[in-house]
C-alpha cells in the first residue's frame, strides 16, 4: 500500500520540489561580493547584534549586562581549575580590570564581537580589520606567508589566512597575555591559538566561527559561533574611538587664559 502511494505521488512531489527550488533566491555562493581573483570580498563595516562581549557564556541579566544565551558551543568554557579561579577574580573585579574599560586594545577574537562596528579593508594579499574602538589594525595575510620564524608576543597575535572554497580560514598565534576574551573576565595566556572560519551566509551576513585553544588555561579546545551583520545605514562610517585618550582630553589644546 505504502509503496503504491509513493510510486503514485513521487512524480508530483518532484515537480513540487522543483517549483519550490525555482522560487528560492540564488545560492549565496553565486551572488556574494568577490575580489578580482574570485575570492569572497568581505570589505564593509560589520557588527554583531549578540551580547557575546558581555559574557561569552550563557548568563542572566546583571546590572551592567543584558542577558544572553552565549556563543560558546556547549555553553561552558572548559577552564583548568586554577584558571577558573582567576576567571572568577577577573569577573569580580571586571570594572577595574577589563582592558576595554580602560580603552585598551580589544585583541582577538574580542574585536570581532565587541559591540562597536569594525571595518574590513580587503585586497588580494591581505585583509586589514579596523575596529572603531581603538582603531588598532589587525592584518590577516592571505599571500601564502606563514607565521614569522622569530615571532614577538603581539597584542593581536599574528594572523595568516587561506581559502577553503569560499571560507576564509585564519590561523592566529603569537599572542601576549594582556587582552581578555570578553568583559566578564574570560581570559587567555600567551599560549593562545585560534583558528577562525569566516564565511558569507548572504551578501550582508558573515558566519564567524573560531576554535580557541590555550593549554595553560583550558582543558581542551572550544568553539564560538557568532553572526556579523553589514552596516547598511546611509552614510554609515567608523567614528574613531580612541577611548583611552579621554583621561587627558581636558589638557589639550591650549585655550586663551580668559576662556
Amino acid at each position: 500500500m505504502n509503496s503504491h502511494l509513493n510510486r503514485h505521488w513521487s512524480p508530483l512531489l518532484l515537480v513540487a520540489a522543483m517549483l519550490v527550488s525555482l522560487a528560492q533566491p540564488a545560492l549565496a555562493s553565486e551572488t556574494i561580493p568577490r575580489l578580482a581573483n574570485g575570492k569572497p570580498d568581505f570589505s564593509g563595516i560589520w557588527q554583531t547584534t549578540s551580547a557575546a562581549d558581555y559574557d561569552l557564556e550563557p548568563h542572566s541579566n546583571r546590572k551592567d549586562t543584558p542577558p544572553g544565551a552565549g556563543i560558546v558551543e556547549g555553553g561552558v568554557i572548559p577552564y583548568l581549575p586554577e584558571a577558573l579561579e582567576k576567571k572568577k577574580k577577573n569577573f569580580e573585579h571586571r570594572e577595574s580590570l577589563d582592558p576595554a574599560r580602560k580603552g585598551w586594545t580589544l585583541g582577538v577574537p574580542r574585536a570581532v564581537y565587541y559591540p562597536e562596528p569594525f571595518q574590513i579593508f580587503q585586497r588580494q594579499a591581505d585583509l586589514n580589520l579596523v575596529p572603531q574602538f581603538g582603531h588598532s589594525v589587525r592584518t590577516i595575510h592571505t599571500n601564502g606567508t606563514d607565521h614569522p620564524k622569530d615571532p614577538n608576543d603581539w597584542w593581536l597575535g599574528d594572523s595568516r589566512g587561506y581559502w577553503e572554497g569560499d571560507t576564509l580560514v585564519v590561523d592566529v598565534a603569537d599572542f601576549n597575555d594582556k587582552t581578555w576574551l570578553d568583559s566578564a573576565g574570560n581570559f587567555h595566556s600567551d599560549a593562545l591559538h585560534i583558528v577562525e572560519h569566516w564565511k558569507f551566509l548572504d551578501n550582508n551576513t558573515i558566519a564567524y566561527k573560531a576554535t580557541i585553544e590555550d593549554k595553560n588555561v583550558f582543558s581542551r579546545p572550544w568553539n564560538i559561533d557568532v553572526i556579523l551583520y553589514r552596516h547598511r545605514e546611509k552614510n554609515f562610517q567608523l567614528i574613531e574611538d580612541y577611548r583611552f585618550t579621554l583621561d587627558y582630553d581636558q589638557y589639550y589644546p591650549p585655550k586663551p587664559d580668559n576662556k
Binding site: 585598551w104 579596523v130 588598532s136 606567508t145 552614510n235 574613531e240 589639550y252 589644546p253
Partner: protein, 330 residues
Amino acid sequence: MKSRNNQHYARLVSRMVLAVSLLPAIGVAADDVQTKPAPAPLGGGIAQEKTVPIIVVGKWAGKRLADGQPDISGHWSNTIANHNNFTDPQGRIPGEPDKPGVKRKELGPRDQRAPSRVSDPLDGQLPLQDWALAKVKEFQVGFHNPVKQEYVEPLARCAPAGIPKSLFWHGYEIAQYRDYVVFFFGSGTRIIHLDSKPHLPDNIKLWNGDSRGHWEGNTLVVDVANQNGKALLGRSGEFISENAHIDERYIFSPDGQRYNYVAVFTDKDVYTRPFTVTIPARKWTTKDKPNGWHFEVEKANGPHGDIEHYERICTENNGGFGLGAASPGK
C-alpha cells in the same frame, strides 16, 4: 568659498615654487623629480634631504587601480626630519637644555638646513595670534620639565599624532580600496572617504579629523573637518583649534615615487590668517633596506620576498607609539 580657496592655493603653490628656487641649496628643476631617484641620504638617519622637490600639479599617466585611482599604494615617509621642530625641521627641539658634559654640534647657518614646513607665509613662521604664540613659547619651556599636564606631548601618551604630524613621524603605509585611501600610521589610522558622503556632524571631534577626498589628476585632494585640535604640530608645541579646517593636496610625481603634501590650514581661533604646510615624501620598496625610522618592515615568512609591517600598538609610555594598548606612563 571653494573658489577662493583654490585661488589662494594656486597663489601659494607659485609662491612655494618661488621660495624653493630662491634657496641656495635647492636647485631642483621641475623634471628632476621625474627622472632622478631620490638624493642620497644624509647619513641614513631621519633627515634624508634638505630640499623640497618641485612636483607639478597635472595629469596622472601612471598605473591605475581597477577603480581608476592612481596607484600610489605602498610604504612612504617624509624625507626631511621628524617632529622635533615644526618650522626648523632639521634644527633642535626649541629650548632644549644643554646636557652636562655633552658638547653639541653647532647647527650652522639656518639656510644650510631644510626650509620651514610653513611655505606660506614666506618667512616660514606660523601666523599665530598673540595669545597662541605665548602658549607655544610656554610649552617650549614646559616640554623639558613637564610640571603641568599640558606640557606632556599627547603623542607620548599614546594619542594619535594627528594631522599633519603623522606624516613626519615614522614611515607609514598608504593602502587604497574602492572608495577609500587609508593611511596606516604608527600612531593611528586615517581613513579618507572618496565617496562624497557629507562630513560628520560638527560637534563630533576627532584626533585625525574627518576626511573627504577625491582625485584630480596626480593630486589627492582632501577636505578635513571635525578636528579635536589636541594633537600638536611638533615637539615645538604649535597647535590648531577644534575649528580648524584643512585643505590638503597630495601631489604625486609622474613615476609615483614621490609626493608633496601641500595643505592650507584655516583656523580663525588660533591664527591671524590661513597658512600652508609643505611636507615632501618618498616611497620605499623591497629594493630599499628597512630602517627604524622610515621603513620599519620585516621580511615575511614566505617564498615570494614579501615584506610586512608588524602590529602598530602603543604600549606603556615610549614602548612604541600609536594605539592605546596600555595606559600612559605619566
